[in-house]
Symmetry: C2
Subunit: 185 residues, 2 copies
DNA sequence: GTCTATACGACGATAGAC
DNA sequence: GTCTATCGTCGTATAGAC
């Protein structure tokens, strides 16, 4: 078999980039060609299921990166507040300071059960990770869960507001307030 | 000229509904036909510019409803806290308790300058209206502006989280906390 | 104002050569 | 693994009858 023109890592990165910006329906094979350098037929070779399969693969991969890197401090041991601050730092980096949208937002304008259910699982895991920080900081279980959901919503909302207002402020402030929101009294 | 099969009000409502759920690229003429009962050619008669023109018309109309109804208390006179509570009530109604997405989110996965600039203006006006409540409650100008942006982001984030988690809780809590966020110490 | 009919291009998808 | 070529379908858009 021929050497791949584009490595898996690079391909997934490019695919995630274009679907993040344009959403599922808004991303055509021309767009994907521009983003990856591969023509349709080559993409069908790697993803026989077409765009659906690409999106599922992207979600799996980005989800793993998010958990393994951004959420890692939340799942580790140690001082809750410090862990929260570290997650906040990594969130800012992951979303490029608010210039990169969230796939869980841009890919859920769909009726695909598979995509919706994957997105939901991902966000639920995210919430659980945040809730763990709260509990470790002494926040009662139910309250920690609520705060975690609100914190995730705040991040997502910061991204939407920053996109629409074309101003990174909202997202950056949401990130800056994360630790206090999760662990404060 | 023939009587319209569908009134303007009904047509706009249906169009807004389908674009809200599916976004710009995800909305086909078949979808629109299903939603409105009008075939493509009839739609082109009312909107010679096609989907672009529909979206712009929808944004103008929904924006007006939002300002005239939801934001009205924010722009009125009277007790700031009470006005904030009233806006919160209307927000909950407007977004159907979190079951209806926001056009400013679902339509901004586009490269259309016109749509983006309209969405931006709408959200900026929304922020200004919220900031007015804060100032009327004695919050310093810059702080009121910041709180207003964060409140708008919180609402948008609540909608995204509620959509992805399939749970209205996040949106409803964001609405419930609005008045305190805008006017509290 | 709404419809049927029609043209065209773009898109998703596949076959087969290298 | 990647490409060119090709096919059918669907979204976009218009013409013309009622």
């Amino acid at each position: 078999m021929r050497p791949a023109k584009v490595t898996d890592a690079q391909l997934y990165e490019d695919l995630a980039g274009v679907f993040r910006r344009k959403g599922y329906a808004g991303t055509s094979y021309s767009d994907i060609r521009e983003a990856t350098g591969l023509v349709k037929a080559s993409l069908y070779h790697r993803f026989p299921g077409g765009k659906d399969e690409m999106v599922n693969a992207i979600l799996r991969r980005v989800d793993k990166q998010f958990v393994d890197y951004v959420l890692a401090p939340a799942l580790a041991e140690g001082n809750a507040r410090e862990r929260a601050e570290q997650v906040a730092e990594r969130l800012e980096e992951f979303y490029a300071g608010g210039k990169r949208w969230c796939l869980l937002d841009t890919l859920t304008l769909t009726e695909s059960k598979e995509t919706m259910s994957h997105a939901r699982s991902s966000m639920e895991f995210w919430v659980q990770a945040f809730a763990r920080i709260g509990r470790d900081a002494g926040v009662p279980r139910a309250e920690a869960k609520r705060r975690a959901e609100d914190a995730v919503a705040a991040i997502e909302g910061g991204l939407v507001a920053s996109r629409v207002l074309q101003n990174q402020g909202p997202f950056l402030r949401m990130v800056a307030g994360l630790a206090e929101r999760l662990t404060g009294n």
